[in-house]
Point group: C2
Chain length 226, copies 2
């Protein structure tokens, strides 16, 4: 499948690399590819600059947000939550219409100190904001409840015996994302319902952050024991 | 131990009954015991009136909020979250000072429709509100992330192989609550940190509600797989 992964941070890199490995035709979309490739600094997490990663993943293309989405059958939103709608607007609504948008972003707000709070929650969510702004895009929220390395390789923890959630209004889009999740190794996929259920998974982030703070290890996930 | 359980709803009843079974001297505190005992209606969940429950649990006493807390060594807040601070004020600050308050309530707001949202979240929590209002009470938030029947009998699900969280500022109070949780059958107790970490567990409730909506079965809990 032709997949655009929007975002060049650790999540975008990890997701793009894995989808490339799985045989998909992956393009990473970024506002200004030349600027992205010219960066020489490590990111905030100490990761090497994007060009280093790109040189190690020659199967993955780099393009503008517009080019990446225009040719894509499925789009992954791995941008910073605070910039997601702006990035999607920069991609161009005409390049998104009718497509499945797998939204893995979270509405983290770092302005109130650490750990971050959420800039939208409780009676709304980032998933809903994106769906409202782009009503003809088929938004599916998933994979936003664990570390990016577990997102793409759940079996490295307890043989994959833990849970991923899925929210969205479009049944066919959810089926497509479910198949993609299964191809990543997910077996316990809990479909929560329409896109308003993204409030639930996004509001879990504060608990994720506290568990991470207490255990000092991001390689955990929750399992719905039932 | 002499324990006051504040609240006469299903959570208060279930917690009081179990603590009584475990040999504690339990008093259920309610604003007006006569009025509570005189009720003849089922509650919103179809449970029988309180007096029926009380007649089946003669080991548990009923008293005013003041009387129940005055004699207690440990207090369980099982009141409706929206009325918790008012109920604690009615109990009288002098009856709470220095005591461990196990807060199992959640700040559910039913005014915006179902499923409920939260009336405090993100940059504050009910646990923190209670701690701020009663600075000399040793507030410990726990057991607010699962169905009341699992709260008091975790082993009925997967042999107890799932998680309970604990938040609070006072280490000794957390130790006391941890011992109480262990006596209920909890073995995977994750201590998150100070009372601000209650934001995490309270903000998990929206996800709990969506999982419940999707699975139509409240007898689940999450396990932190790590």
């Amino acid at each position: 499948m032709r997949i655009a992964v929007l975002g060049t941070g650790p999540v975008g890199q990890t997701v793009a690399a894995k989808l490339g490995e799985l045989g998909h035709e992956v393009t990473v979309g970024t506002r200004d590819p030349e600027e992205t490739m010219a960066r020489t600094d490590q990111d905030n997490f100490g990761n090497p600059p994007f060009a280093v990663w790109a040189s190690q993943h020659s199967d993955v293309s780099i393009a503008t947000l517009t080019e990446a989405t225009a040719g894509a059958e499925l789009i992954v939103n791995a941008t910073n939550g605070a910039g997601s709608i702006e990035a999607l607007e920069a991609a161009g609504e005409q390049n998104l219409v009718g497509k499945v948008l797998l939204d893995v972003a979270n509405p983290l707000d770092f302005s109130q100190g650490m750990p971050p709070s959420l800039f939208v929650s409780n009676t709304d969510s980032l998933g809903e904001q994106i769906q409202r702004r782009f009503p003809d895009v088929r938004v599916v929220k998933a994979l936003n409840t664990m570390n990016t390395y577990l997102m793409v390789d759940p079996k490295q923890l307890a043989g994959g015996d833990h849970t991923v959630f899925i929210s969205g209004d479009d049944a066919d889009a959810k089926n497509q994302v479910t198949a993609l999740l299964e191809s990543l190794g997910w077996s316990d996929i809990v479909e929560l319902g329409d896109i308003t259920t993204a409030r639930g998974t996004e509001m879990y982030l504060p608990l994720w952050l506290r568990i991470m703070g207490a255990t000092q290890n991001p390689m955990f996930n929750i399992k719905v024991v039932r």
